[in-house]
Symmetry: C2
Subunit: 308 residues, 2 copies
């Protein structure tokens, strides 16, 4: 007899009922098929006003420019440092992102890992008044625990940098590094004083992990098919469709950011990532479980009183 899931931050209602029902039905699924995947930004933690990883990259850029001031003249960096939206849009986010990733070319994985951890240990969210590490969603932590209590493997499938998320996934979510599937940067093998080392390059390995690539990349990385998937944007849609196309009990969960008071309100605002409709419309059309932050969550962040 498995005990009822502990979901104290989820308010009673249809959404909580749907989770409890899915967990109960999953008891009939073979344990090795109990696989749950989660997007990260906007699904497991706050992604506004900008991605935490972008804030990290800007922080690293500012620190680098102090010792290498000539970098401030590079168009991509100048646009970011001056927060010039028009220039950023003209250059394009992809070129900006690659230029920022290039700041780490030549670093070994451990050094990159240490920089991310240091940032997360010290940086605060610009508006919420708490450290970034406290902008994880308490209800989602409880959901991760409830899934694990039913012998689910829990994995993160993020559009962000794999190594960035791996540096923090164990501490924030209890997910091991090999359980993180994201956008990878290739390594080069070099020998220094006869010792074999890996150093980062500025080249993406495979495809950026967004949209249909999320379904293909999670198969490549994990060799498992999810029967549960959670996301918050059109870039997650294919992954959620992939989960619900599995045999037996499945669940697709969309986090609807509709809580301007406690977090942000934006999920249904517009079509994104090549989609033809807002993601909330996709969710309704395909029968996904939509989580209304405002309605379904008793508290949003850990350690923040429910009546905030």
């Amino acid at each position: 007899m498995v005990r009822s899931p502990q979901l104290p931050s989820w308010r009673p209602g249809p959404t909580r009922d749907a989770i409890v029902d899915f967990l109960s039905r999953a008891d009939d699924v073979e344990p090795e098929r109990r696989v749950a995947v989660f997007d990260n930004d906007g699904t497991l933690w706050c992604e506004k006003p900008r991605y935490v990883q972008l804030d990290f990259l800007i922080h690293e850029l500012s620190a680098t420019v102090e010792t290498r001031p000539e970098l401030a003249a590079v168009a991509e960096y100048a646009a970011v440092l001056s927060d010039d939206r028009a220039s950023i849009a003209a250059i394009g986010l992809e070129r900006i992102a690659l230029a920022l990733v290039d700041l780490f070319t030549g670093l070994d994985p451990d050094t990159f890992d240490a920089r991310v951890r240091h940032f997360l240990a010290t940086a605060d969210h610009p508006a919420l008044g708490v450290p970034y590490r406290q902008t994880v969603y308490q209800p989602m932590l409880e959901l991760l625990d409830a899934l694990r209590a039913r012998d689910f493997g829990t994995y993160i499938v993020t559009g962000g940098g794999t190594e960035f998320v791996r540096a923090i996934s164990r501490g924030l979510y209890g997910v091991e590094p090999e359980g993180v599937v994201g956008t990878l940067v290739t390594y080069e093998v070099v020998r220094t004083d006869g010792r074999l080392r890996l150093v980062r390059t500025n080249r993406v390995h495979g495809e950026v992990n967004e949209g249909e690539a999320k379904a293909a990349n999670l198969q490549l990385a994990l060799g498992r098919r999810p029967i549960f998937a959670a996301g918050n944007s059109s870039g997650d849609a294919a992954m959620l469709e992939f989960a619900t196309a599995a045999d037996g009990p499945t669940m697709a969960m969309l986090i609807d950011h509709d809580d301007a008071e406690r977090e942000y309100a934006y999920a249904g605002e517009a079509a994104t990532f090549e989609a033809e409709e807002p993601i909330t419309a996709t969710a309704e059309r395909l029968g996904w479980t939509v989580v209304s932050m405002a309605r379904d969550w008793e508290r949003v962040f850990p350690g923040v009183p429910s009546d905030r």
Copy 2:
């Protein structure tokens, strides 16, 4: 107090002492840095007279040709079916391998997985007189257990097909699918009757997982650095060098196939995979622990008496 490792199939002597010493020193390593990687063919199970995966591919080719006899005229397939060494050499193993992989183009991962499992459940080794699944090395199973008892994560880093090894890694070795790093084939995302599906292609994803690629790919796939690595060929050398370049206690283990009576004798025979020396010479030069099958293993295979 951790108890002594249980290694009953390892004979007392310097090799066993080196393992016990490494395990003891690893107690001082942070648990998340306790990472052990193993090559598969020739390290965890028998790879002679030919790779098990190659035997599987030939089996699948024979079955396919029964319903599609025109395939027997394809040069790559004809060479394999007639076991014509000269033709195989002229065509090249890489082209042969890709042609065989192409037999599965369009299959979904679950179907491929089921075919591998069926083969392993039924196929026998052509010379040893036992099922393939019993050609795993008993001493290495004990080593895997001893590492796990010290909280090591254990992973497989194979030159073979990732999905092939994943289909059997849990049953044979207790390694989960996401713990297998090998050569990947890309997937295509397709929609059939509105359902999102993944189907195999005939294109390799990234690099074939051999040589220096093993070091880079294990970082990409696992996000962890090994402090223990075991292999048996020059294609494993970079991975073993990578492990020993880590800080703190490390161990590189080379399986020397020097036991023509109980298995095969070939490891030191010649330079392979772009190497300029036999792998046993590399091991001596770099101070790796060399496992002599003939001398160090009391028994080779599970269920086979030691006096065989």
